[in-house]
Symmetry: C2
Subunit: 125 residues, 2 copies
């Protein structure tokens, strides 16, 4: 296997987009660091809190666009259909060490999700 | 060379982030299609209009995070330092045909750029 980081990234991604967060988190190091659009997330429980609302409430389906990797790094680019947006693509660029994801640079556009959240809020005078 | 798409993607990226849009556009097919956060861009002139404000006015520096590719597809993940945001990462996933980029899925967070634009607008009562 020439790209172990990719295998781990794909297994993690398949789990969380399949709404099995417990399984997804088994691919992460306890002290995982994720740089996401809204800021840095540190630790596996914060990571769960970050992914759970999206995976459990907003995600409808996923389509992988590209997946590449080598010994220590993997990149996944995929589109998602979500309740806020028919197309909400994302990229995850993960670093793997000792079989676990220790770092993720998570890129997506917050705009449709922020607009959706504003629409859900009660109208203010 | 086992990953020609990556070589072309990197040359295009080096050109546009070096603010040489004329050179960058030589790597694109005339009828290039780009799915960007704000919608679909079709054709090389529209692509120039999309990139130019960012490359020429907002971009300070670029740091490549990961770059992978094969015969026809390449993915670049990179961070940018910009006037609106110290860290504004992006991913470009390009399809190459006959030596030109024919498609790009361009992922980034619009939020800091929209906020910057709003701050630049004259205050309204």
């Amino acid at each position: 296997m020439t790209n172990p980081a990719l295998q781990i990234a794909l297994a993690y991604h398949r789990a969380w987009t399949g709404k099995d967060l417990d399984l997804a988190l088994t691919y992460l190091a306890d002290e995982v660091v994720c740089d996401a659009p809204a800021g840095r997330i540190v630790g596996i429980e914060a990571y769960r809190d970050f992914l759970a609302p999206f995976a459990e409430r907003l995600l409808i389906s996923v389509e992988m666009i590209a997946a590449f990797g080598d010994d220590s790094t993997a990149v996944l680019v995929y589109d998602t259909e979500t309740i806020p947006a028919k197309s909400a693509p994302a990229a995850e660029c993960v670093t793997v060490r000792d079989g676990k994801i220790v770092y993720n640079r998570f890129v997506f556009d917050r705009t449709p999700f922020d607009e959706f959240r504003r629409r859900q809020e009660p109208a203010r005078p």
